[in-house]
């Protein structure tokens, strides 16, 4: 390329063109940014306002203060008979805890195993990752069949001669949420594996060589050196998992068959049913805002530190 456009041009034209040229990037970005301002931040504020009203089947702007949040707060402790919100909170804790712990341990385990100079890694890795391409509705449909006691796992075990085998969780309202957790772990553990594997591959070999020379066993090397060095990966994996767990919705419906009787209620399904089928839109909005705040509390510090690190 030759620098040829530096010949002087009449002054007024330059400034006009220049001004357009200067504004152009912002003009290009503006529509997207505006859409996000309105559809994300505007809508969240709108939902927040609705949560302070007495909206039922339709939205209204008759403000009643914090009543809906107080209602949810009382429901949080109403366990006999359990309120839907109580069930949602308890299930969220159970489901979230199991999901995060199992995904992290299976993901880390698989990553360490795959990192042992395995023949056929190229075949195995995609197998652990393919569930990520499936929609949760498909995943849920598959697991619902697989765990179905009449035609699925229990039946198959009986046919194989293990007649005392009993596994009816997927049709047992009290155990359904665990089946959702099983399907969810199956769906995301591969992703966590990929994160850890990338972390493992990024570790400096010199450090490990030093450990080897010092006579550390492979178990010790992993426990004392490798796993501590993966701490940032643990952090991102955990945040991603918590974020996914808080938003789980599709899987609950598909594994349980549209959540009969609210047995596998989570805040997400609570929000949906209170808003769109029970005509308590204001309560639904309040629960949506609580979800929002929970996720913000997890994500904002994380994103902030990520962005700051990168710009350094």
């Amino acid at each position: 390329m030759t620098v040829s456009a530096l010949t002087p041009v009449p002054r007024a034209r330059v400034s006009l063109r220049q001004r357009l040229q200067n504004a152009l990037p912002k003009l290009v970005l503006a529509p997207s940014f505006l859409l996000i301002l309105v559809f994300v931040y505007g809508f969240i504020s709108w939902t927040f306002l609705l949560s302070l009203t007495s909206s039922k089947a339709f939205t209204n702007f008759h403000f009643i203060g914090w009543g809906n949040y107080l209602k949810l707060w009382t429901w949080t402790f109403e366990r006999d008979p359990p309120s839907n919100w109580y069930t949602a909170i308890v299930n969220m804790g159970l489901f979230g805890g199991i999901y995060v712990v199992f995904c992290l341990s299976i993901g880390l385990g698989l990553a360490i195993l795959l990192d042992q100079k395995i023949r056929g890694e190229g075949v195995l890795r995609p197998i652990y990752l393919y569930p990520l391409a499936l929609s949760f509705i498909v995943t849920g449909t598959a697991w619902k069949l697989f765990l179905n006691p009449r035609i699925g796992l229990e039946k198959a075990m009986h046919d194989l001669g293990w007649t005392s085998f009993h596994f009816d969780w997927v049709v047992n309202p009290r155990m359904m949420i665990y089946c959702v957790a099983i399907a969810a772990i199956w769906a995301s553990a591969g992703f966590i594996m990929a994160l850890f594997l990338a972390g493992l591959r990024g570790i400096d070999g010199e450090i490990l060589k030093a450990a080897q020379i010092d006579g550390a066993s492979s178990f010790q090397t992993y426990r004392r050196i490798v796993i501590p060095m993966l701490r940032p990966v643990f952090l991102s994996a955990m945040i991603i998992l918590i974020n996914l767990a808080l938003k789980s919705y599709d899987l609950v419906l598909s594994v349980t068959g549209n959540n009969p009787g609210g047995a596998a209620e989570l805040p997400s399904t609570f929000m949906y049913s209170y808003t769109f089928t029970r005509d308590q839109m204001a309560v639904g909005s309040a629960s949506a805002i609580i979800m929002m705040m929970t996720i913000a509390a997890v994500m904002i510090p994380y994103l902030y530190s990520e962005l700051r690190e990168k710009s350094r």
Partner: protein
Amino acid sequence: MSAVTPAAIMRAHPTRRSAWRSRIVIYGLLIFFAVLYLMPLVVMVMTSLKPMSEITGGNMFELPHHLTFAPWIKAWGTTCVGLTCAGIKGYFWNSIKMVVPAVFISTMLGSLNGYVLTKWRFAGHRLVFGLMLFACFIPYQSVLIPMAVILGKLGSIGMNMQDLTGYSLGFGNPTVNLVLVHVVYGLGFTTLFFRNYYEAFPTELIKAAQIDGAGFFQIFRRIMLPSSAPIFIVTVIYQFTNIWNDFLFGSTFAAGDNAPMTVALNNVVNTSTGVIEYNVNMAAAIIAAAPTLIVYVVAGRYFVRGLMAGAVKG
């Protein structure tokens, strides 16, 4: 990598025999998990190829004795979704009609945004990006009600226009609505992907082109686009998978015959009337999974890159 990895240490250690034993354990565990991962899909495929008698009478791990494609034909053409019994084919096309424009628009906007946010920085660019980034992570429940209200408004505008002019111009059309929704809530991701990709692109080239008199769009078209193929593939795959697999927006904003594939599948599987036809259900599920699964098989590398990028690890 030529450096010493944890693996090498594991191997270099003690005696031959114990090394052998640990190899067997490692491969055993990996294969066990691989089987565990493949099982649901295999069972699904086998179930979809069996007549009902074999499903209720037999074992789900057995291969079909009488191979039948009837469940597939029924799922595609005649099974009941809600009250209409015309199979899932219409919903499959609904999804295609929604996915193609939504992916195209959100990806194009994302690439322009990424270009501006890295090469045409302005005061406050970081705040703008931060706000767009956080939009990726909101729970969609928190925007569902206002969205429903706005789409309802658009619907009545469309009706009025229909009455006045004979054309609704897309106002109130469920597919258009879903495209809008997916573009808006996909923008954060596409912008993030392109921003992180263009960040590493040498700014000197842009400066040089500017000196040569190239304008904003010229630089984008001549310099950025030709080297953006990988990130376009990653973004398109990511958006395609996400939008195809969406259920929440589809079930909220497109009811009945206008529903996308995932919503129709849930209706097929979870209808409470009549005998449950597991084979038809499974065939429908595989059809719903096929497009994203094929993309995964064909372009798995890009798929995984998209996932990692979506995890905010630049």
